[in-house]
C-alpha cells in the first residue's frame, strides 16, 4: 500500500483548505477597536459590535434599495415574557441569546434555522426580581475565546463554554440582600471580563470590577464613592477641570458617611480605546434621589471615568451632573471616533447624556469640546465650556414637599440606556430618545437595607412644548461636528430599543408598539417595517449566515422601565407606578402585550415579490 495516495492527499488538502477558510472567515476572537467595511467579519461578538461602541456593520448586501424585500427567515421563543433588552451574539454558525430573569442562555444553530444546540440555566435567586428597579432585564452577553460571559440579575458573572454549554466558572460579585443587581452586558478587555452593579434606587454603593477570564477571580474592583484608595485614584489621576481635583472627593463632597449608600452605579456601556489603553464608563445617580438629603457634589456619581483596564486605576473623570437633582444617571454609551473639530483632527468620544446634552469630549484628556441640547431642556441652562460646569436652573430645583412642574429631561433622561449607532459613511450618530416632561416632588426617605431609597414622587407625560403633539419619543440623526440635528422621526412612545447602522446605509430600530423599522440613514425615509409580536426594546444586530447571506435579528418583548406597565402588569391608574413612568404609558397596554421572541430577517430569495 502506498503511503501517500494521491486522491487522499488531495482530499486532505481540500479538507484542510476548507477548515482554513472557515477559520479565516470566523477567526476574529476579539472585536475590532472601531469597525469598518474592511474589518467586517460578519459576526457580532459584543452588544456594541466593537470596542468603540459604533454598532456599525460593514455588511452591505441589504441596502436602502432592496431592504423592502426583507422577510422573516425564522423565529425563536425565549420562553420568558419580560423586557428583552439584550443583543443576540453571532459567532461562527451559532447565535447566543440571553433572556431576562431567569437569565437562560441559549445557543442556536444558524445552519438549522435557530434550532437549540444547548441551553444554560444559572438559576438566579427569585428574590432578585424585587430589587430590580426597572423590570428584570439583561442587556446581553459577550463572546471571547470559546466562552460566552454574562451577568445574572442576582449578581453572578457566568462563563459558559461555547462547545457544550457547560459552566466554566461562576463568580458571585453582587448581593441582592442590599438591593444590588446586575443588568448590564459585560465587556472583555485583555483577558478580563468587566461588569458593574445596579442598585441606584436602593442606596447601593456603585462599583466596577474585573474578573480574570480564565478562572473568574477578581483582578480589580473600583468603587465610585468613598476614599481615593477604594476608587483606585492615585497620582496618575489627571482630571481636566479643577472641581475634580483634590483628595478623597468621594468622601468630602457628601454629608458624613452618606457616600456609603451613595449610588454611582455602573450599569450602562463600557467602551475601550486600545491605543490610549483607556476604558470609559459612566456612573449612575447618587443614592437617595431627593437631593435635599445629600448636599454637595456627590462625587463620583453622574459622571464618566477613564480607567486603565489592566489595573482599574482612574486616569480622568468628568461630572455631567454634579449634585444630581433628577436621577440623571450618567451611564449612557460613549462612542469613540476621530473627527475634525474646528479644523483640527481630534480623538473624541460622543456621549448623548441623560441630562439632555450631546457631549463631544477629548477622550485623552477629558476636556469638553461641546455640549449641545438635543431636546428641550428646562432642568438646566447649559454647560459652561470654560469651567465644564452644568449651569443649574434654580426655578426647577426640587425640594422636600414642593412639587416642581414641567421638568425636562425626565428622570429616565432625554435618552436612557438605549444605545446609539455611528456610521463612518454618513458621519452621523443615530439615537433613540424620549421627548417627555415631568412633575417632581421630594419626600422624606429613610434608609432600610434592601428597600428602595428614593424619596421622590414623580409623574411623567409627553413634552407639552417640543414636539408638543403628544408624541413621547423620537429617533434622531445627529451631526456631532456641526452640533445639530439632521433629522428626527417622531414616535408615539419612547423609543426604548437600540440602534444599528450598516454599510448599506440602512439604520434599524424598533418601537414599543412592536414595529421593527428600516430607515434610510441619509434621508430618514422609512424603507420597510414589520410588526413583531410584542413591543421592541432590544438591540438590533446583523450578521452573515453560514449561507453567506446577510441577516438582521431583533428580540421582541416589551418591558424595561418604560414598558414595566405591561411587563410587570402594573396598574397605570396610579400615575406614580413604575417610579412615575406609568403616568405617561397608560395607553401602552392597549397596543401591546408581553412577549419574548427573537425575529431573524433576510432578503427574499429571488428578490421582489411578484
Amino acid at each position: 500500500m502506498k503511503l501517500f495516495d494521491g486522491t487522499l492527499a488531495a482530499r486532505l488538502f481540500v479538507g484542510l483548505g476548507c477548515a482554513l477558510i472557515s477559520l479565516i472567515a470566523w477567526s476574529a476572537e476579539a472585536p475590532p477597536f472601531r469597525n469598518t467595511e474592511e474589518a467586517e467579519d460578519g459576526q457580532w461578538l459584543m452588544p456594541a459590535k466593537d470596542y468603540a461602541n459604533t454598532r456599525f456593520s460593514g455588511l452591505k448586501e441589504i441596502t436602502a434599495d432592496n431592504v423592502k424585500n426583507l422577510e422573516v427567515a425564522w423565529t425563536f421563543s425565549s420562553g420568558v415574557n419580560r423586557g428583552q433588552e439584550a443583543a443576540p451574539l453571532v459567532v461562527g454558525d451559532t447565535m447566543y441569546v440571553v433572556t431576562p430573569y431567569p437569565n437562560i442562555l441559549y445557543a442556536l444553530d444558524l445552519n438549522k434555522s435557530g434550532a437549540v444546540k444547548w441551553k444554560y440555566e444559572p438559576k438566579p435567586a427569585a428574590a432578585a426580581q424585587g430589587v430590580a428597579c426597572c423590570d428584570v432585564v439583561c442587556r446581553g452577553a459577550v463572546y471571547s475565546n470559546n466562552r460566552v460571559f454574562f451577568n445574572t440579575l442576582d449578581g453572578n458573572v457566568c462563563a459558559v463554554n461555547t462547545k457544550d454549554g457547560k459552566e466554566a466558572w461562576k463568580t458571585k460579585i453582587g448581593d441582592i440582600n442590599i438591593g444590588e443587581t446586575i443588568t448590564m452586558a459585560p465587556v472583555v478587555i485583555n483577558g478580563k471580563v468587566i461588569s458593574g452593579n445596579s442598585g441606584g434606587e436602593f442606596g447601593v454603593r456603585g462599583w466596577i470590577q474585573a474578573l480574570n477570564v480564565d478562572d473568574g477571580k477578581v483582578a480589580w474592583k473600583a468603587y465610585n464613592t468613598g476614599p481615593d484608595s477604594e476608587c483606585l485614584i492615585d497620582e496618575n489621576f489627571k482630571p481636566f477641570y479643577p472641581q475634580d481635583k483634590g483628595k478623597d472627593l468621594g468622601v468630602t463632597t457628601w454629608p458624613p458617611d452618606k457616600w456609603k449608600i451613595g449610588g454611582g452605579n455602573v450599569w450602562g456601556w463600557i467602551s475601550y480605546d486600545p491605543e490610549l489603553k483607556l476604558l470609559y464608563h459612566g456612573t449612575g445617580n447618587p443614592g437617595v434621589w431627593n437631593a435635599d438629603l445629600r448636599p454637595g457634589d456627590n462625587k463620583w456619581t453622574c459622571g464618566i471615568f477613564a480607567r486603565d483596564p489592566d489595573t482599574g486605576h482612574a486616569r480622568w473623570y468628568y461630572q455631567w451632573s454634579p449634585h444630581d437633582l433628577f436621577d440623571h444617571d450618567g451611564v449612557n454609551e460613549s462612542i469613540l471616533v476621530d473627527l475634525e473639530i474646528d479644523g483640527k483632527p481630534r480623538q473624541v468620544l460622543l456621549h448623548p447624556e441623560r441630562n439632555g446634552y450631546l457631549y463631544v469630549m477629548d477622550r485623552k484628556t477629558g476636556e469638553v469640546l461641546s455640549a449641545t441640547p438635543f431636546i428641550r431642556i428646562t432642568a438646566s441652562k447649559g454647560v459652561d465650556l470654560k469651567s465644564g460646569q452644568l449651569i443649574p436652573n434654580e426655578e426647577k430645583e426640587p425640594h422636600t414637599g414642593k412639587v416642581i412642574r414641567d421638568v425636562t429631561p425626565i428622570s429616565p433622561g432625554a435618552k436612557d440606556w438605549q444605545p446609539s449607532a455611528f456610521s463612518p459613511r454618513t458621519k452621523l450618530m443615530y439615537f433613540p430618545n424620549q421627548t417627555m416632561s415631568m412633575d417632581y416632588e421630594g419626600t422624606e426617605a429613610s434608609y432600610i437595607v434592601g428597600t428602595p431609597f428614593v424619596g421622590v414622587n414623580e409623574k411623567m407625560y409627553a413634552d407639552p412644548v417640543d414636539p408638543g403633539d403628544g408624541s413621547r419619543g423620537a429617533f434622531t440623526a445627529w451631526d456631532p461636528v456641526a452640533k445639530k440635528r439632521v433629522w428626527r422621526i417622531k414616535e408615539s412612545f419612547p423609543v426604548w430599543s437600540g440602534a444599528m447602522v450598516t454599510a448599506g446605509d440602512v439604520v434599524f430600530y424598533g418601537t414599543m408598539e412592536g414595529w421593527f423599522k428600516a430607515i434610510n440613514a441619509k434621508t430618514a425615509e422609512e424603507l420597510w417595517k414589520f410588526k413583531t409580536g410584542s413591543g421592541i426594546i432590544g438591540q438590533p444586530v446583523t450578521y452573515k449566515g453560514p449561507d453567506g447571506k446577510q441577516y438582521v435579528a431583533i428580540l421582541s418583548g416589551v418591558g424595561g422601565w418604560a414598558g414595566a406597565v405591561v411587563a410587570g402588569g402594573l396598574d397605570p391608574n396610579d400615575g406614580t407606578a413604575a417610579l412615575g413612568f406609568a403616568n405617561a404609558m397608560k395607553d401602552l397596554p392597549n397596543v401591546t402585550t408581553k412577549g419574548g421572541t427573537l425575529y431573524v430577517f433576510k432578503l427574499r430569495d429571488g428578490g421582489e415579490k411578484k
Binding site: 420562553g79 420568558v80 415574557n81 419580560r82 430573569y101 431567569p102 437562560i104 427569585a126 428574590a127 432578585a128 426580581q129 424585587g130 430589587v131 430590580a132 428597579c133 441582592i176 440582600n177 442590599i178 434606587e201 414637599g401 412639587v403 412633575d439 416632588e441 419626600t443 422624606e444 426617605a445 429613610s446 432600610i448 437595607v449 434592601g450 428597600t451 428602595p452 431609597f453 428614593v454 414622587n457 414623580e458 409623574k459 414595566a564 410587570g568 402588569g569 402594573l570 396598574d571 397605570p572 391608574n573 396610579d574 400615575g575 406614580t576 407606578a577 413604575a578 417610579l579 412615575g580 406609568a582 403616568n583 408581553k594
Partner: protein, 200 residues
Amino acid sequence: MAIKQRKLELGVLVASLALVTSCKREDRPFQTSAPSAEAIQFTRMTDFRAGGPSISGNQPSPAMSADETPEEKEFEENAYMVGEGKRLFSAFNCVGCHAHGGGGMGPALIDDQWIYGHEPAQIFCTIIEGRPNGMPSFGGKIPSFQVWQLASYVRSLGGLVPGDAAPGRDDDMHGGPPENSAPNQKPNDSSLPKSAEMPK
C-alpha cells in the same frame, strides 16, 4: 390660628357625622392590643429581609401584647388605623416598590389580582414572612400592631375597607384617585406569581 380653629370644627363635625354612620371609624384605641404575631405561625418565605440580615432567625415581630386577639377587621373599620397604615406604607418604603398602589418592582395593590390572598391575615403574613419573588420579610422589623395597620391600608387601596375609613386626601403628589374612592374590587386570589411566567 383661625384656619386651625375652622379645621378643628370641621373635624368634629365630620367625626360626629361619622359616629352616626360607623362607631368604629373614630375610635382611637391607643391601648388596644393587636392580633399578635405570635398567634400566627411565622416562617420566613425568603432570606431577603428588610433591614438586612442582622435581624436574626424567625423571631416574631414585637407585638404590643399577646393576651387579647381583637377582631382583625376592627383595624380597617377605623380611620385612624388605616391612616396610620398609609403613613407607615411610606415610612417603611413600601412606596418605593409598590408606588401608591400601582406597583413597580412589586405588583400593583390597587387591582383585583392577589397572588397571596387579600384577607387581612394573609396580607399580614405576606408582610411578616416575605414572599419568594422579591417581597422582603419585615418580620422582626415592624411591630405587629403596625403590620395590622399596614394590612388595613393595603386593603383600602383595593377598595376592600369601608369607604369612610379609607384615607381621603393627600399631602403629597399622588398618582390616582384617593383611597376612599377606590372601586371595591372583586378580589381574585388565584393570580400567578411572577415565577410562574418563567419556563421550567
